[in-house]
């Protein structure tokens, strides 16, 4: 398993941080994250995403609809292309199920496949499950505050807590000071080498919030490969019916 990838949460984190109201920024990094934390817990969102995956052998774009609630529930359904329409992934707690319309079957993903790529992207199944632990697992502080390339930014340094079951040595996050928009996230191994790069761009206002609508994840060990998510629609704080996150709904409609 060569692919390494980044937590989906961090994309969502990017969105959420970016969606913080542009008030005077708190001094402590922790306050920011605290707020994020609280937001994430109560947050629900529905959105449409265009995911493009480029590997050395092929490049594909699929259109997805994503429902998420808090940090425990996610439902992703493929809407285009026609061939893959109806393929869906449901995550509840630690479990993941895939639905494959062609054979009309729901399949549970076992532990042994947790590191396998999700839907062919550079994300793993594990990424879908892992997000809730970001706050728990890392010590967060602001490493740098100032100007970079003419833009005032915060540089967040996330260091794993001693016993946290995370593989990264550190994560560095660059956030625009003015509107708290994430610029990039860098994932390093313990040896200090950059393993993954997540870049954010195309900042737009969706459902009243400024968000980076384009996020690209690039693995450093595979030149030319990336996975890119482009948000088309995003709605927050909806009341999502409970039965959405069920095996039934996984199947259809």
């Amino acid at each position: 398993m060569r692919k390494r990838r980044v937590s989906i949460l961090l994309i969502l984190l990017g969105i959420v941080i970016g969606s913080l109201p542009a008030q005077p920024s708190p001094q402590e990094a922790k306050e920011i994250i605290d707020r994020v934390d609280r937001m994430l817990r109560g947050d629900s969102s529905v959105g449409r995403v265009e995911m493009t995956v480029a590997t050395r052998q092929w490049k594909r774009t699929t259109e997805l609809r994503i429902w998420s609630e808090g940090t425990e529930k996610v439902l992703v359904r493929v809407e285009a292309p026609k061939k893959d329409q109806g393929t869906a992934t449901l995550r509840v707690g630690d479990n993941i199920w895939n639905y494959l319309p062609k054979i009309d079957r729901v399949i549970r993903v076992p532990t042994s496949m947790m590191m396998a790529s999700w839907m062919g992207s550079h994300f793993t199944n594990d990424d879908l499950v892992k997000d809730s632990r970001l706050i728990r697992d890392y010590d967060i502080r602001i490493e740098f505050e100032g100007a970079r390339d003419g833009v005032n930014v915060y540089e967040f340094l996330l260091t794993p807590r001693p016993e946290a079951p995370v593989v990264w040595g550190k994560i560095v996050y660059l956030i625009r000071k003015s509107d708290l928009m994430p610029v990039w996230g860098k994932f390093y191994g313990e040896d200090g080498q950059l393993k993954r790069l997540a870049t954010f761009s195309d900042y737009q206002t969706l459902d009243g919030r400024l968000v980076p609508t384009r996020m690209r994840m690039t693995p450093e060990d595979k030149a030319g490969e990336y996975t890119e998510m482009k948000y088309r629609d995003l709605d927050f704080d909806l009341k999502i019916p409970e039965n959405i996150f069920s095996l039934n709904s996984l199947r259809g409609s």
Partner: protein, 457 residues
């Protein structure tokens, strides 16, 4: 007393006179010895037989030499064969297996994280072993947990087999610490230390000191547990499957990760005598309740058991053929002397040896030669064994890397192991062979009415 001495002296002279030509004999003979001295004493026959052997020094030496060398080689072959098998077994036993193991019934066949020995079963087993420790020859009692999981690092992920063991005891009981190619073995203080197989280290690009995450499903739930571990050491056992996918962690850590409490999957027993494995297993089976299964290494490692069986079968064939070769060579040597022996016995007949006594002489002679050959042969064989016992047979002349078969690593240097039972068997068979073969030509000679042969020159 005096008469006896005189008898003895006469026989001595008589036997001395058997050497040489017929003319000399005629000069020696003073009438019928039979009438005057009577050849009753078995002791005399024993001595005559012995001296017969040495009158024909060449014949004796060549025959005995062939047999002795043959037996010696046979013993060396047996020693090396047994030695290599034992080494394989011991090496396999000390790499995560055991001489005898107690598990919950059904675990061997089906596995499963939930199939643990309950506290009660564990207590029962442990107490029984403890109380019988000296008589069974138990050297170590180990508790283990087995599971499969996923190990991932910043550079990769791979499925692994996890063995949770007690660092301090396993350090002495098992040979994992000898297989380390980097880092150190587990310690009981470092709860998050892990020793990983070389293949795992490669796939995850890990060095000692670096971290990785282990994911596994806990017992009785769908929850996936994650644990941060640090590489304490990297091992290379030489068994590809093992090195590609095994990691060792402290028992307590494994129990915590898998939510097993203080339960374990296996109680492993190491013995001081490999050969007692079956016996101990059988005893334990009888003593412990039937919901606990007790297995010896033969049942724990059937692949190894079968490999050894085939190898032994092959060796058996080999050695039998070799034995046949010895037989033929010796028979050949002895056949050569048939004519000669007939003459000898003709002479003895003339001297007054009755057929019965001639036969007895033959038997005793055959016994002497067999005894001599076997004694020398055993000596040679044992010497060879001792040499290979101390210095070993360096087979790494023939191959370079680690070699494994039947799930066990083959040591580059093979040390001989020769049990007394083996020696006794081989020596016994060779004795019987030599005895029988030696009988044949002599029998022919002793039986015959070969007085006419005495006329020849």
């Amino acid at each position: 007393m005096l008469l006896r001495q005189k008898r003895f002296a006469a026989v001595w002279r008589a036997t001395r006179c058997v050497r040489g030509s017929v003319t000399r004999l005629q000069r020696c003979a003073h009438g019928s010895v039979k009438e005057r001295y009577g050849m009753n004493s078995l002791k005399i026959i024993l001595i005559i037989a012995w001296r017969n052997l040495w009158r024909n020094k060449r014949r004796t030496l060549l025959t005995a030499g062939t047999v002795a060398l043959g037996l010696g080689l046979l013993l060396v072959f047996l020693g090396i064969g047994d030695g290599s098998h034992r080494q394989m077994i011991q090496s396999a036993v000390r790499l995560g297996s055991a001489h005898v193991a107690a598990q919950v019934r059904g675990y061997q066949a089906r596995g499963g994280i939930e199939r643990t020995l309950s506290e009660a079963q564990l207590a029962r087993t442990s107490s029984w072993i403890e109380s019988h420790k000296p008589e069974l020859g138990v050297t170590h009692i180990l508790r283990r947990v087995f599971a499969s999981g996923l190990a991932s690092s910043a550079d990769g992920a791979t499925g692994v087999r996890v063995i949770g063991l007690e660092p301090d005891i396993e350090r002495t009981a098992s040979s994992f610490d000898e297989k380390l190619v980097a880092g150190k073995f587990l310690t009981s203080t470092e709860e998050t230390g892990a020793v990983i197989g070389e293949g795992v280290a490669r796939k995850l690009e890990l060095q000692p000191g670096e971290k990785f995450v282990l994911m596994a499903q806990a017992a009785g739930s769908a929850e996936i547990q994650s644990l941060l571990l640090r590489v304490a050491g990297i091992m290379r056992t030489g068994l590809e499957d093992f090195d590609q996918a095994t990691i060792l962690i402290p028992l307590s850590t494994a129990q915590q990760l898998l939510r097993l409490g203080s339960n374990v999957h296996q109680v492993a027993i190491m013995l001081d005598e490999l050969d007692n494995s079956d016996k101990v297993a059988w005893q334990a089976k009888g003593a412990l309740p039937s919901d606990i299964e007790v297995l010896s290494w033969l049942e724990l490692m059937p692949e190894l058991r079968d490999f050894i069986k085939i190898d032994s079968g092959g060796s058996y064939v080999f050695n039998s053929l070799f034995f046949l070769i010895i037989a033929f060579l010796v028979a050949n040597t002895l056949l050569m002397s048939v004519l000669e022996r007939r003459r000898e016995f003709a002479l003895l007949d003339a001297l007054g040896f009755t057929p019965t006594r001639r036969f007895l002489l033959v038997i005793v002679e055959a016994s002497w030669i067999a005894l001599l050959s076997v004694a020398v042969g055993t000596g040679l064989g044992y010497a060879g064994h001792l040499y290979f016992y101390h210095k070993g047979l360096p087979l790494d002349l023939f191959y370079s890397s680690d070699v494994s078969a039947g799930g066990a690593v083959i040591d580059p240097v093979i040390y001989s192991y020769l049990a007394w039972s083996r020696i006794a068997l081989a020596a016994g068979l060779v004795f019987a062979l030599t005895f029988l073969l030696a009988l044949l030509p002599a029998w022919r000679g002793a039986k015959g009415q070969d007085a006419h042969l005495l006329g020849q020159i």
